[in-house]
Symmetry: D2
Subunit: 345 residues, 4 copies
């Protein structure tokens, strides 16, 4: 049985910055007919979690809101109409709770965990059963929590439009969460992977994760052309997971194969890119904006994570729930390699 109160980090909306995160006890929500009460055991951070308290997130929010989208834990109690879960089941949260299948739509956009609806940075939470999926059995809760946003985004990039085939080539950039998942998913699926990074150390780690080729983008500023040369017939890569740092798009279009897909994921880089929509014609390729994904894909992805025993890359430093604000700062300072995760007891 669940207690009546739960520790929770709340984005108050009244103060900008990480001081807008408030830690305290709140009542455990009531379990509605279709609800699942989850003891959350792990959460992880995404860049969007960092900018929500700063008021910079371009999607709908309501304040106060329990922070964070990514979470995993164990089912404690289920409402009378729940059919897919029972107490004891291990679960992972769906990012946009209302995005069940097919294309993203406006209504789904008002159901983002930790932004528009209460999220995962708490010990206990209730979720409509349609907002959860069964966790891969090979992962602990901390690992599983990273699948919600970064994992699903990478999967959607590779499978949401032109499904990756074994033997195709994928280019991933840097060592952010989506890029590392992209690398792992692509390797598990029999693809070849070229990864870029800024240091010999990180390049080494990327190789350990399975990258077939690594390029240090500081040493090789025309790494797009270099990537292309690595592919059979120098035809280019089939997929780029473009995380949007300054100047990366200019290289991505050099690397892409005719009719390949450049999945545009992030908006970290400040400056407006020089690459316009017309470059899709100049390079005969596709630019696709990817915004997480639906439950149907999360289920497909979990099946592959389990079947291939994929373990998400976690930063070695794991935070406890009361240290969450430090975790935000740690990630903001870019001290991490892999997902910044929080263990919730």
């Amino acid at each position: 049985m669940a207690p009546s109160t739960t520790k929770q980090w709340t984005v108050t909306g009244t103060e900008k910055g990480f001081d807008g995160l408030e830690y305290g006890d709140v009542p455990v929500p009531k379990v509605g007919d279709s609800d699942v009460l989850v003891k959350i055991n792990g959460a992880s951070l995404n860049y969007r979690d960092l900018i929500i308290p700063q008021g910079l997130y371009p999607f709908p929010t309501k304040f106060p809101v329990a922070a964070c989208s990514d979470g995993a834990g164990e089912v404690v109690e289920v409402g009378p109409r729940v059919t897919r879960f029972k107490p004891g089941d291990k679960v992972v949260t769906l990012f946009n709770q209302g995005h069940q299948f097919g294309a993203f739509h406006a209504a789904a956009g008002t159901t983002g965990l930790g932004g528009a609806v209460d999220g995962t940075l708490r010990q206990y939470g209730t979720f409509d059963e349609s907002g959860l999926v069964h966790a891969p059995q090979n992962l602990n809760a901390i690992e599983a929590s990273t699948l919600t946003c970064a994992g699903l985004t990478a999967w959607n990039a590779l499978y949401g439009l032109k499904p990756l085939l074994p033997g195709q080539w994928v280019l991933v950039q840097g060592t952010g969460g989506v890029s590392l998942f992209g690398l792992q998913f692509a390797k598990a699926a029999g693809a070849k992977v070229i990864a870029t990074s800024s240091s010999a150390d990180k390049c080494e780690q990327l190789k350990k994760l399975g990258a077939d080729h690594v390029i240090n983008y500081r040493e090789d500023t025309s790494w797009g052309a270099t990537a292309k040369k690595l592919t059979p017939g120098e035809a280019g890569v089939d997929h780029v997971i473009e995380v949007g740092g300054a100047g990366t798009l200019e290289q991505s279009v050099e690397a892409i194969k005719f009719e390949g897909v450049i999945s545009i994921i992030g908006f970290l880089g400040g400056a407006k890119p020089k690459v316009t929509a017309l470059d899709a014609l100049m390079h005969i390729c596709t630019f696709r904006g990817v915004y997480v994904g639906p439950r149907s894909m999360l289920e497909d992805m979990c099946r592959s994570v389990e079947a291939n025993d994929i373990h998400p890359v976690l930063d070695p430093k794991i935070f406890s729930l009361d240290q969450a604000k430090e975790a935000y700062q740690y990630m903001w300072d870019k001290k991490h390699f892999g997902k910044v995760a929080i263990k919730i007891e």
Copy 2:
């Protein structure tokens, strides 16, 4: 039997502009093992044909070259290894002769009719049998000739990445060849179509061709938002056939549905668009460059043209072969509505 010589328009490459087009008699080429000798009865012009003699075409060319990519006619003779055609068959040319199936590739780019290899502005020509398809039986040669480039481009836009479903919404811009084919193909396939144009007259013609809604873009400069409002739930259109006039992309991204596809076709408009690749993420949509298409699609398209008795829209003024240079000028002066075609006797 074919005569030994044929009238032909040749792009000499020695002079820029339409004076680089030379009319004269040349020998009818020999019929190789896999060749089909075609009496060409119709040809039609595309914008790229106009810029090839001007030296502005961004794809491979070799000069001198028999002009034009679009042609249709009747098989006169076949080489000993030809299996798909026999004398008397009606045929249409494939734009990139080496683009048989799947994605565009560099080798296919060196086989563009009327650019890299001899084209259709002549009475007789030989083509490898893989560079021809059977013409739809409902069309005469002049009509059929328009399928090669504009028809196939429109089909590829609608079916090459995310196949159009009945009940979806398509936005086409203006009255160019690709746009009109897009309109006709979409209507035949049970989709809804919004078309834009600059005059009441043309809007009327677009309605006659089946457009469900027309928007005069001179009167309604925020026609992208207007188009979106016309769709169910104001969710936006599933497909835009973007022909790239100045400022159209800015409107297209306003009209597009989440995860819809903006097919980028033309590069008529001079100025660099403000819409960058990142807008694919901002609008959660896809920009796809479309460059004609493979034989497999041309065959699919011809089947639909025949089954739905689609008749390409021809400009009322039909030119004769010796008037071809006038036809070029007529199109250059934008006097046409529908395809500019040439009857070849």
Copy 3:
């Protein structure tokens, strides 16, 4: 506001045959958090509804159960967590309430309306919002009610595995609900249709509905080969909607194109067919069992029904709710052409 009781036809499960259908007043169910209370205005019958009271239905049932899967009406009230509907909205029921997207699965099989859960043969009913879709605006409730089972089955056959393309050929058999929808959907989508029937009269009606060719299967017992000859190059039809009468499969494999799909829908015919699974190899084709479909497809289908103003074919005799047992008998006696429908006041 809804009244406290509703007229309802209940399958009691205590008596076999249509006498197992009981008419009476029952309380209107309470509106749960995610529930939608619907004033049902139309229902329609499927063969499976006829065999459920006879205890012959091979899928899960629970008795007593409100009869029928097919229904349409108007939203009266919504639970506090409902987001997709509001009072006044026109809705259609989803056959397997739990089949939301993707492949059919065992859990979905326990949510069949009018079999495993309460159905539509009543004035008022509540449904989880995920078990309803918006009705096409061009249909009245009686027409809309026919989409649930026959409509969606036909759509799934044409779009669920190898999506129908304009210009392809479809063969439909007889004048049952799925076949007529198959005919209408295929025509709206720009396909060619061959229909079979047993009388000149019905053949005439099929032509009026748009069939390009009709074959009287009593007069032409090798109608499979005849159908094949009608197709371009005598290559065969791309899709067969196989409703499983005696001996039809033997003809369907004669009609099918290489790599075409024979969608197996019904199990009306008694005898075991001679066509074995190995015939899929002998004819290099695909046999696919189709069992209605998910909500995602029902939404796609409704969009096409509305866009193409498709009106389901109703038998001219419309029954009232109190006459429902007579409607069952009427359909059992095969007196109908088109869907047998019930108007519910």
Copy 4:
């Protein structure tokens, strides 16, 4: 340069059985415009090669014909219009030389190597360039030769209709060539594989090849249900590669997941199966006949073979060209595990 004559095994068609195979010197064919002259270095046998000399092959043949479909070697000379190959390139043959893309069609059926047109059991042969693909660089010619028929058939089964996703489950039967390729391709693509065999020894070898589970079908006669129980949620396998031994289909339908695909490959087993086309509905699954595949798929497959360094399983006994008749007998006597291959010097 090639010599003027080549050793060749010819199926004479005048005698039934392996005595209908004649070994001798024939002229090396002339190199036509689009031809590639290949020094064949390896060939391998398929069951269909064994029954062609026996007159039992159900597809078109012409006699005399150079035997065998499967071959790999090195380009010696190319015709003047060849664009995809140059001397020194390593190549693999395409089974149906005319099957370039899309669905199988009747014309492609008249171009089967070693049946309708001259095959690979010879030192030198010419092939139209469209009938060859580049060999994966990780294979020697003997290994590469096995891709033509067994490899491509397995690939088509997994990717030709419902493309295999990582994390899905595949069931393969026995240790024939197609089954072993299916196992290897599925594992390389991140799928789970259940394999069946008749002996502990072979089960051990299947495990070494990567099978996640093996079932000895002699010990477990209800292996279909056993396989289903191994899958997540006991939902069944997504793909079965059904090679058609007696009684296997009855088990395959027990193992298949709802909407899974049973690819029907072989027709080794004599008796007519009890499983009829209607069982596709009873089990809500798909039966698909698979007949090798087009060039487009052979290219996709070779890319994966190379990227994943897949080495086809060869029987340890490699025959020389003059021993080919013994190779036929060896395979006929079922003494092999893996492909029976012939080294051609």
